[in-house]
């Protein structure tokens, strides 16, 4: 490969294809295991424009991390079955060969991982880990790459980049390390950045710094970003859209403000109520979600949240609700008896009358709090 080719690839990314940068359609990722096929991601669709941020929220086992890694094509084991479609800039990623994908990795799409302690190679200097991508993809000389690396470290807010460049990861603090992995991800100028729980392993004061950094870089570079997290607080102020995942599916998808203002899916509602909030007085009883997420080898045939849902009705256990659009355009949900609608209120009242504990306690919470979600 020669230099002109490398630049031409960057050009195709910025121009050419019209429409969304990332278009994911009925995307599935299943794993073959000795006990059966684990449907980790099961029919996920979304689109993402350049410059936008999508937050993917879910608990462990919801498939959010698998989704990010699998869309990018990083899961390659023989037991991985990918199906459906994921198009980056018009290029189909499902079924693409590893070498085709490798041309996109780093230069077009990049990923920031959860734990900077383990995602940096402990035996290579920080500078080397940044420059190797630059030298391979952009064919920079050693000196050029080093100069570029220094600039990158500076732009991600690492003081004294000249010294840091020749240090090893273990000589840096956790926050610094995550800044380095962000610098690595940004090195070759990707247009799509996946950030997989980028702040979960960090302290809360450092978390704020890193989220700010990601947001600033995303705006400056006009990137699209997928922010994967379990923390609704992390995505609330920093995303354009949110997709809530449960048991391998998107159960609610909406513009961020709309989602928080009009929650429709009982799962999202329960998630919001289970977080202790600073605004609540001490000893506020939390609304917990009983039970545990379903087995992904044999998921329930109806709604996957039905076994834990306070709104559950016979229809929920027999028929899987489709992801349908609400009255507000762009707000999708997967529920027969959505929160805040007449159908939902009726279902909840029925369950409370029957004495189903989850419904009773939810009704109490709603009654205690005037102007709650209902």
């Amino acid at each position: 490969m020669t230099k002109p080719q490398a630049t031409s690839r960057v050009l195709t990314a910025t121009s050419g294809h019209e429409g969304p940068l990332l278009q994911v359609d009925d995307f599935r990722t299943h794993f073959e295991t000795p006990t059966g096929i684990v449907k980790a991601v099961d029919g996920v669709s979304f689109t993402l424009k350049r410059g936008d941020t999508l937050g993917i929220v879910g608990e462990s086992g919801s498939g959010k991390t698998v989704l990010a890694r699998s869309v990018m094509g990083l899961l390659t084991g023989k037991n991985v079955i990918r199906s459906g479609s994921a198009r980056y800039n018009g290029t189909e990623l499902v079924g693409a060969s590893e070498s085709q994908l490798r041309d996109l990795w780093g230069t077009e799409m990049a990923m920031v991982f959860q734990d900077p302690m383990t995602s940096l190679n402990p035996v290579l200097k920080v500078g080397r880990q940044i420059t190797e991508g630059l030298r391979y993809h952009l064919k920079l000389s050693k000196a050029e790459a080093r100069a570029q690396a220094r600039q990158l470290l500076d732009s991600v807010g690492i003081p004294d980049p000249n010294r840091r460049i020749s240090q090893y990861p273990h000589e840096l603090s956790g926050g610094m390390r995550q800044r380095v992995t962000i610098a690595i991800a940004l090195a070759c100028g990707p247009t799509l950045l996946f950030a997989d729980e980028p702040t979960t392993a960090l302290d809360v004061t450092v978390q704020a710094q890193i989220l700010d950094l990601l947001q600033r870089q995303q705006i400056e570079r006009f990137m699209a970003m997928v922010l994967v997290t379990h923390d609704l607080g992390v995505v609330a102020g920093r995303t354009d859209h949110i997709a809530v995942m449960y048991a391998g599916q998107i159960v609610e998808y909406a513009p961020t403000r709309e989602l928080f203002a009009n929650v429709l899916m009982p799962y999202t509602d329960a998630l919001l109520h289970s977080i202790p909030k600073l605004s609540q007085p001490s000893h506020t009883r939390l609304q917990s979600i009983g039970g545990r997420p379903p087995d992904l080898i044999n998921p329930p045939s109806g709604c996957r949240f039905a076994p834990r849902c306070p709104y559950v009705q016979p229809k929920c256990t027999s028929e899987m609700p489709p992801l349908q659009e609400a009255e507000t355009p762009g707000h999708f949900y997967r529920c027969w008896f959505p929160v805040g609608t007449d159908a939902g209120r009726e279902a909840l009242a029925q369950n409370a009358a029957l004495g189903i504990p989850a419904a009773v306690s939810l009704t109490q919470t709603l009654a205690d709090k005037p102007g709650g979600t209902a």
Partner: protein, 451 residues
Amino acid sequence: MAGTGTAHLRDPDDVLMRIEDLTVEFHTSAGIVHAVSGISLDVRQGETLGLVGESGCGKSTTGRAIMQLPAPTSGRVLFEGIDLAAIDGKHLREVRTRLQFIFQDPISSLNPRRKVKDIVAEPLRIWKRGTEQERQARVTEVLDAVGLDPAVAGDKRPHEFSGGQCQRISIARSLVLEPKLVICDEPVSALDVSVQAQILNLLEDMKARYKITLIFIAHDLAVVKNISDRVAVMYLGKICEVGSPDDLYATPAHPYTAALLRSIPVPDPTVVPSSSGLLLGDLPSPIDPPNGCRFRTRCPAAQERCALEEPQIRAVAEDHFVACHFPLVGTTAPISLPMPAGPVSVPTSPSSRTVTGDEMGEQRRMTGDESGNNAGSTASGSVLLIGAGVTAFIVCSIVQAAGGSSMFTMSFESPDNFLLELAMQVTFWPGWLATVGLIGAGVLGLVDRDS
């Protein structure tokens, strides 16, 4: 000037547990890690004390030091009026039945090969409480109390449960001996939010049902606020602020508490996260903490005085205490040190040494290792061993040289001196084995020490 004051402590007769001037230090190859530096705290019967701070602030070390795991470097831990640091091992084990600990990782803190009912019953068996039947009844009761079906769960093993259920088992195990005080070290940070709510609710229920007192250690301010009656904020081995949660969270007095609260992402999209007022830089190294106020290197309100004089804890409101010269609530602290006249040069730049992952790791390792404090004495031990070996060698040589013949030809040619011969025979093998063993052990100790 290790102490940051005791103004926040209450009447000693009124509290279940009182920590006075607790200091924990670890010796590492890089120097002494000042993990906890002279903190004082107390808990009333039935109260929940929340201990909150970021990693490296010493909150977990404090929890372990209360349990004497390892024993603190100095300071007193008074539990029901008894100083735990001063009593012997047997007595301490007995006290520990009334003092339980719940760990962060519920799965690895349970023995994977044992059945749940045996795990929960184990403390009862060890302390020979009741008959087998009474024990079973007690196990059934606590399993039921923590929301597990004793008939189903009792015969399963930990790996068959989710993280949240394992934490329930841990709680059941800690409650089975009817403890007075339970120390929970990050009990919900490994759990999903929905499960976290279950466990927090459960802890509240258990507190009400069994009349226990809790020390709740966590990094999540919202979680700590939810469960605590009193909150202590820690930073780099010191206490910053103590108070009732509603007061402390509404009007934080310490700049660090305020910064912490501002950093928490709020699940509300109408609140635009602002980057102003966020903390910059990294935690200074606990090996070489800043003088004066330990927070001053990152504090937006730091002044000269903060480097010269360590702030003492004082009240700024009813049941609200802060260790800060220039608190956000209340008045500037009265000057207790003579301020030098004229300009003083005070290093205001953040300490250039920041804590690295390795140091943190080291600290953690030391925490788990009771013998950690003895690292320095290994060398002298080795020297002693070698010395003993050389002595053994000299004794053997003298005895055998006195025998008059070549030392190592084991002949009986001069039977005229039977006693000497006997001495030779007796010292021969044991003497040499001792020589070789002692010197070998000593050398191994020396070589092993930092390899």
